[in-house]
Symmetry: C2
Subunit: 204 residues, 2 copies
């Protein structure tokens, strides 16, 4: 692109580094910000700078937090003996939105992925082992994505955790609510038949 | 969404104000920035702050520039008697990318749109009239979008400029290169037949 201004070009390059933001989108966003009052732009950049400088990670579950212990880990209403292991903070938000879960979390910070050079030591696995070793935990739910990376991580965690005598579960996989059979992929459908549940349990 | 951190929520809200960025995308972008080194985030926010604080608009053509006169208006190679009127700086970039145009520009800063409350006085129209009144201009090309707002603006500008004795052109409308006839909409196809050009001219 032929930029009429170096400042404009620099801002577009910076925006274009964000995932999923191409040069045209970056230009559109930058020109939008340029039309806003300066106070709005300052508020935008301040929010990002503050986030980066002041953000904390919960020392127990490694979720993003404003303090050294996150609200969930600090809550007396949560079952500290039930730990849901997730990839990142988005999964915590998604599960919290269901209002179905009363336990606590453990945020791995990623999934094992040899392709991306992410090994077990890059994830918060040792601290999960420590939480189990400290005792008081009765169940671990592995709520990871149904992908190759997710399955690899589940397998690794299972081997690492199985000797603690704690119940280890994975979240149910099957057809989604509202899903029509004919559109379900064959792997999901096959697995959902293999792991069928008695009717009485399905309505519990 | 249930944010585990106020700082995170604030950053997501700010990103979500950008056009076309929903809350989920905003969260994805913010979490991406959070994973980057602090220097990268600072460079990102610095680029935006500098852009907003230091950007200039060319006093002649109103294009975004680093100085009071943009590079195009300052160039001796450009035909100052040929002015291409465009909506915004993206159009200047698009036309510059064609390498077909040797004149100068006039950036209106928008199009007349009663629906959005944009009237002629909100655009750089008076200064265009002044440029014509100053003399030395032989042709004006109105290169505006083929939308209702574009056509309204062309009509307004034509009435305003026609008495200066300057050639006023609009860019050709028709089927795009590589466009297959059967997929062209009927308005475009109808107009492209009505405004057909002699073959000798089409290959000039």
């Amino acid at each position: 692109m032929n930029f009429s201004s170096k400042l404009l070009e620099q801002a577009v390059i910076e925006f274009g580094r964000l995932p999923g933001v191409g040069q045209k989108t970056a230009l559109r966003l930058v020109l939008h910000l340029l039309k806003q009052p300066e106070t709005d732009v300052v508020r935008f950049t301040e929010a990002l700078n503050r986030l980066k400088q002041e953000i904390r990670y919960c020392t127990t579950c490694h979720n993003i937090a404003d303090h050294t212990i996150c609200e969930i880990c600090a809550s007396h209403k949560r079952d500290k003996g039930l730990i849901c292991v997730v990839e990142d903070t988005r999964d915590v938000m998604a599960i919290e939105n269901t209002n179905q879960y009363q336990g606590v979390y453990h945020v791995l910070g990623g999934l094992i992925s040899p392709m991306d050079g992410v090994g077990p030591s890059d994830l918060q696995i040792e601290s999960l082992v420590s939480r189990l070793a400290a005792g008081g935990v009765h169940e671990i739910i592995l709520a990871l994505s149904a992908t190759m990376e997710g399955d690899t991580t589940i397998f690794y965690l299972y081997k690492k955790l199985k000797d603690f005598g704690v119940q280890i579960s994975t979240i149910a996989r099957g057809i989604a609510f509202g899903g029509e059979l004919e559109y379900v992929d064959e792997v999901t459908l096959g697995r959902s038949i293999a792991t069928r549940v008695p009717y009485e349990r399905s309505i519990a």
